[in-house]
């Protein structure tokens, strides 16, 4: 299936994925509250997980999906830590 051009499809998909990335980054920079920024960060790393799958498509190496697993793990730990910070600091004294 080289006629389909997997790298070309991957590059187009990566270019299309820049749209949600830029929108989430704009919300993260602009966001009026702390909670808005954390939500935008969560969304941003979710888009990055999709981008690792697209990079696997461009390079033809399935190992990039494992990097996606790692990024998703970091996303989970970071979101839990940030929400613990927000809950403690926000409802604190």
């Amino acid at each position: 299936m080289n006629g389909l051009g997997l790298p070309l499809i991957g590059m187009i998909a990566g270019a299309l994925l820049m749209v949600p990335l830029v929108l989430a980054a704009w919300r993260m920079i602009r966001g009026p509250g702390v909670a808005d920024r954390f939500v935008a960060l969560d969304m941003l790393i979710g888009v990055v997980v999709a981008l690792t799958a697209v990079v696997a498509l461009v390079t033809g190496r399935g190992a990039f999906l494992d990097i996606g697993v790692g990024v998703a793990l970091v996303n989970f730990v970071a979101t839990v830590a940030l929400s613990a910070f927000l809950e403690r600091k926000g409802s604190g004294k």
Binding site: R27, A50, G68
Partner: protein
């Protein structure tokens, strides 16, 4: 084989569409919980669809890692979103509600959001 690749391409494009919708929702909706509503559901589905689509299009792929990343996304993203929503509610993030708050007497909530409170060193000294 060509059927699998066409299916993968369709899933990739649908997943990108969901991610773009989630991005528009994060950028345009008015408060933190509504932004989370857009980003969590559409973002989880979109990322999972992009991963499945590109795995279907790749010639040599281990199904175990694909299943693992999908299961991981489906398990962790809702948990993280629930924790973040609870923290946002309790810390008094600005909400724009259409009726009164049903959780008002159930969960304690701060009156002002974190970023609008005075910094600790700028507070007035306690009067003894």
């Amino acid at each position: 084989m060509i059927v699998l690749q066409a299916l993968g391409l369709v899933m990739l494009l649908v997943g990108i569409g969901f991610l773009v919708l989630a991005g528009v929702g994060v950028a345009r909706l008015p408060d933190a919980l509504q932004r989370m509503h857009a980003s969590t559901k559409a973002g989880t589905l979109g990322a999972s669809l992009v991963v499945i689509g590109s795995a279907l299009m790749l010639p040599d792929i281990r199904l175990s890692s694909v299943a693992f990343i999908i299961a991981f996304l489906l398990v962790t993203l809702p948990v993280a979103a629930q924790l973040l929503a609870r923290a946002a509610y309790k810390s008094g993030a600005r909400l724009n509600l259409s009726r009164e708050d049903p959780l008002a007497n159930v969960i304690g909530r701060q009156a002002t959001p974190l970023e609008e409170r005075p910094a600790p060193e700028e507070r007035e000294p306690r009067q003894n």
